[in-house]
Symmetry: C2
Subunit: 240 residues, 2 copies
């Protein structure tokens, strides 16, 4: 089991003396974010961008040292990711990014079709013209940017899906789908690389969804999103 050193961010010590002067006005900072949230976001980002290999373990202390902070915020961030099933607790009580078995992947795909199908159908019922334009723009962006980085394409794809899902007005559902995307995060990256390499286009499903939105047929939107998920899963599933 490889151990990832994970030198993500070498920030300065926190309890070192404060920066020299800091004279002048402070920015309002509406929502003071805590250190553990920053670590959480940082780790999440590392996961979805494929910087951490599935199966690798990580220790609290080494991460804390990489971040240049004490172990407390790292501890909380890791436990949160475990609670969200993004990381798993090994019997030794150390945390690891779970390995993807074909069974687990297949199961998550089935759950995704069920949940995202619901979100898509309900989102279709509440779609506004502005949202429709944004979704169209995202799809165009993906199609007409052959040289875009996989990370960019993934981000556009994410915006397309979640833009539609959020329109459902079902925040709990959206959170659950986000959690599922996080769990398949390491694979999404692989998926996009395969797509880019083999020039596979799954945008037919996006177009079907847009069509369904225009015709105000929520059931068609649902079918299109499910097709999108299943087609992508077929590619990845074959490579597990």
């Amino acid at each position: 089991m490889p151990k990832s050193p994970l030198k993500l961010l070498k920030s300065q010590k926190r309890n070192a003396p404060p920066p020299p002067a800091e004279s002048g006005f402070d920015v309002p900072k509406l929502a003071r974010s805590t250190l553990n949230e920053e670590v959480y976001e940082e780790l999440k980002q590392a996961l979805i961008s494929g910087k951490i290999a599935p199966g690798s373990t990580m220790t609290i202390r080494s991460l804390a040292q990489s971040f240049g902070i004490s172990i407390m915020p790292v501890r909380e961030a890791l436990r949160r990711l475990v609670a969200e099933h993004v990381l798993v607790l090994l019997p030794n009580r150390s945390v690891a990014l779970p390995l993807f078995t074909p069974e687990r992947f297949h199961e998550i795909t089935r759950i995704r079709t069920s949940l995202e199908g619901l979100a898509a159908e309900e989102g279709a019922r509440h779609v506004t013209p502005e949202l429709f334009d944004r979704l169209t723009r995202m799809t165009k962006l993906m199609e007409t940017s052959p040289n875009a980085s996989p990370a960019d394409v993934l981000e556009w794809n994410r915006e397309f899906h979640f833009g539609l899902y959020r329109a459902s007005g079902m925040p709990v559902l959206v959170k659950m789908i986000e959690s599922l995307w996080l769990q398949v995060g390491p694979l999404l990256n692989l998926q996009q690389q395969v797509f880019a390499a083999e020039k596979i286009s799954v945008y037919v499903h996006h177009h079907r969804a847009l069509e369904g939105l225009k015709k105000k047929k929520p059931a068609e939107v649902r079918a299109a999103i499910i097709g999108d998920i299943e087609d992508a899963a077929k590619i990845i599933g074959a490579r597990l």
Copy 2:
């Protein structure tokens, strides 16, 4: 916003000198459980048994004092429950059991029908004769125990549902459903009290499910479970 004192358990201090002798054999203790897990389980139990009122806030220190331990395990247990959306983080960063709005309840019900429908249908495909017997027994138990405590009935009902769901062989799905049940936990208790008071029987759905299992018609099992969820939700939804 009421503050629940929550005197759950007055255990002895942890870092007090160890018990006098402890001579004799220790039980093997396969999985050494940590203090934060115990607190987590304890709080979970308090939630599903309705001991904590929705909307009430709780503080780390007061809980720690109730348990007679330091704040660390309580801190981790609370954050875990927040990560699982059982508790919410208020803007003040204090935690609370969320209030149930009709919208949230309705949304969770829709998600439940989607997810539990899937689990029921898939469970029906893998049901064994032994499991069928157990499910039949649970239903009989519920029907023929007019004086059973609501907590007992809830437990039997839970075993019926999750026994079926677990047969699906989809552990991720089962975990997600468990999380949803936890979120509606405070209402499940209310529900059972209403049922007991008004002698409402929802067991027709259980019988339909058993029938579907016997006839090997997974789709019918799905429909029965969805009917069960929606009927129960109708009762509760009307009282929100």
